[in-house]
Symmetry: C2
Amino acid sequence: MRAGELIEAFWRTANARDWAAFGRLLHEDIVYEVPQTRERVRGRANYVEFNRTWPGAWTAAVTELFDQGDKGLSVVDFRVDGAAETGISRFEVRDGLIARITDWWPAPYDPPRRMTDKIERY
Amino acid sequence: MRAGELIEAFWRTANARDWAAFGRLLHEDIVYEVPQTRERVRGRANYVEFNRTWPGAWTAAVTELFDQGDKGLSVVDFRVDGAAETGISRFEVRDGLIARITDWWPAPYDPPRRMTDKIERY
């Protein structure tokens, strides 16, 4: 499967808590990394557990998808317990399976002092 | 030009501080948004000024590029005054020019308490 199809199936099975189908999308040697926290999970079974045990009544809606065949990227609107977060996930495909995921979770922050007044807030 | 070519030229001219060439890549009605701070800059002249006045001796090295023709995304390793940040930028193309940019700057954070011990740090 192309990255785009795998990514759609990844989020569909995660939202459905169908961990058997979710696991079938993953390479046995998958590596999952969060650069912001420097966390890493290795291997299909560990990565399924990481997702299966994620707390809260969460859902992820894909708002953006990039598909380059052997790699792809999704942006999701992640909702959990009334809070909204944005998740940006980069996927690498090997042997037709998801072999690497890099996840970013950009949180709100106060704008720095800017050197121009040409900025509005929304 | 495709999104990928525009994105490469965007970062190349920005790194070169060639603001005339940078501006020629932009749609007159470009909209730039930072969802994390809810900042917005509208219009070519304002957006050039926003970049031109960015403080510090910064450089941006593209580490990841997605090109879907009319949209694209880059990940950059942004260095300024000895600090390293990651910038994730989504680009939309209209009339062969960059018409919309959405920018995320995911900063480091402490990992939350996890429900599994299958996580390493790196």
